[in-house]
């Protein structure tokens, strides 16, 4: 079953994501980095940051929360068993630090067909409490073999 093209541009509910100290350490452990700026606020301050720094891809955690709403949208018709993560893009305007509360409104940036497959592009602009953009995340999901019919 093809995806519902009419949902191109649809926006979803705003997600709020507080960046917490323990989660940052857990993430740094999981990706196997021992840089002290991810673990120690003093080391981070000594390196010029306001607080303990989140590894750049820590925002994947928020992105999973935001894109969850999209992939579960019944009107979209996505069969998650057929989905492959095809592309991922991040643009950082500044590093994320502990104490940030990021908010984002995920949207379907595009739905397109290439050969037998369909591609779903989900975009989320993550902003801080002052409304400034901190990170832009763009995920392209490939829906295998669902284009025809």
């Amino acid at each position: 079953m093809p995806l519902n093209q009419a949902l191109k541009g649809r926006e979803y509910q705003e997600v709020s994501f507080p960046v917490e100290r323990d989660h940052v350490v857990q993430f740094a452990d999981a990706i196997g980095t021992d840089d002290p700026v991810f673990r120690d606020p003093e080391a981070a301050r000594a390196a010029g940051y306001p607080d303990q720094v989140a590894p750049p891809t820590f925002v994947t955690k928020m992105q999973i929360l935001t894109s969850g709403q999209v992939v579960l949208d019944q009107e979209l018709g996505l069969n998650y068993a057929m989905v492959v993560h095809a592309e991922q893009e991040y643009e950082w305007r500044r590093p994320v630090v502990v104490g940030d509360v990021l908010v984002a409104t995920p949207r379907i940036a595009d739905i397109y067909v290439k050969g037998p497959h369909e591609y779903l592009v989900i975009e989320a602009e993550m902003k801080d409490a002052s409304g400034r953009v901190v990170v832009i995340a763009r995920s392209t999901l490939l829906s295998r073999g669902t284009a025809g019919g």
């Binding site: 999981a30 955690k61 993560h85 991040y90």
Partner: protein, 143 residues
């Protein structure tokens, strides 16, 4: 400031990112699932993975991307140096494979002091060089 921070003037087009190796273990992939919140059974349940045509569980694409980003920020000496990355996931990664992150500087912008790299990850699969991440780029802001 940190002493190990890479300077724009030290970098030349054609420079290679020091390759960063990681043996992908089941427990690492589980830890990544828990830390990221991506609990897709494809990355935890061998029976499920086999039901969709793989010999066993595979690592998250984002797991490989995080490893690639580690290689970049280690090279720069500062996690804040990374301004953008765009990757294409082109092959899967199985358990106990050795994932190697690599890259090469392809452009330098003197006015912004930013450098652009072509980046990839590779594994040796039965003598074949397989690139789980390829045709991908990253940009870093250097001092």
């Amino acid at each position: 400031m940190r002493v190990a921070v890479l300077r724009f003037d030290e970098v030349n087009v054609g420079d290679r990112l020091p390759p960063l190796e990681k043996v992908v273990r089941r427990e690492d992939v589980k830890a990544y699932a828990d830390a990221s919140g991506d609990q897709n059974p494809l990355h935890q349940d061998d029976n499920f993975a086999r039901s969709v045509g793989f010999p066993g569980i595979i690592a998250h694409g984002m797991f490989s991307m995080a490893h690639l980003v580690n290689a970049l920020t280690r090279w720069a000496g500062d996690p804040g140096a990374l301004t953008s990355i765009k990757v294409q996931f082109r092959a899967v990664v199985f358990m106990d494979e050795t994932l190697v992150a690599g890259g090469e500087v392809v452009a330098k912008d003197d006015s912004t002091r930013r450098v652009r790299l072509s980046v990839w990850t590779e594994v040796d699969r039965a003598g074949q060089r397989v690139l789980p991440i390829k045709n991908s780029e990253a940009e870093l802001q250097l001092g």
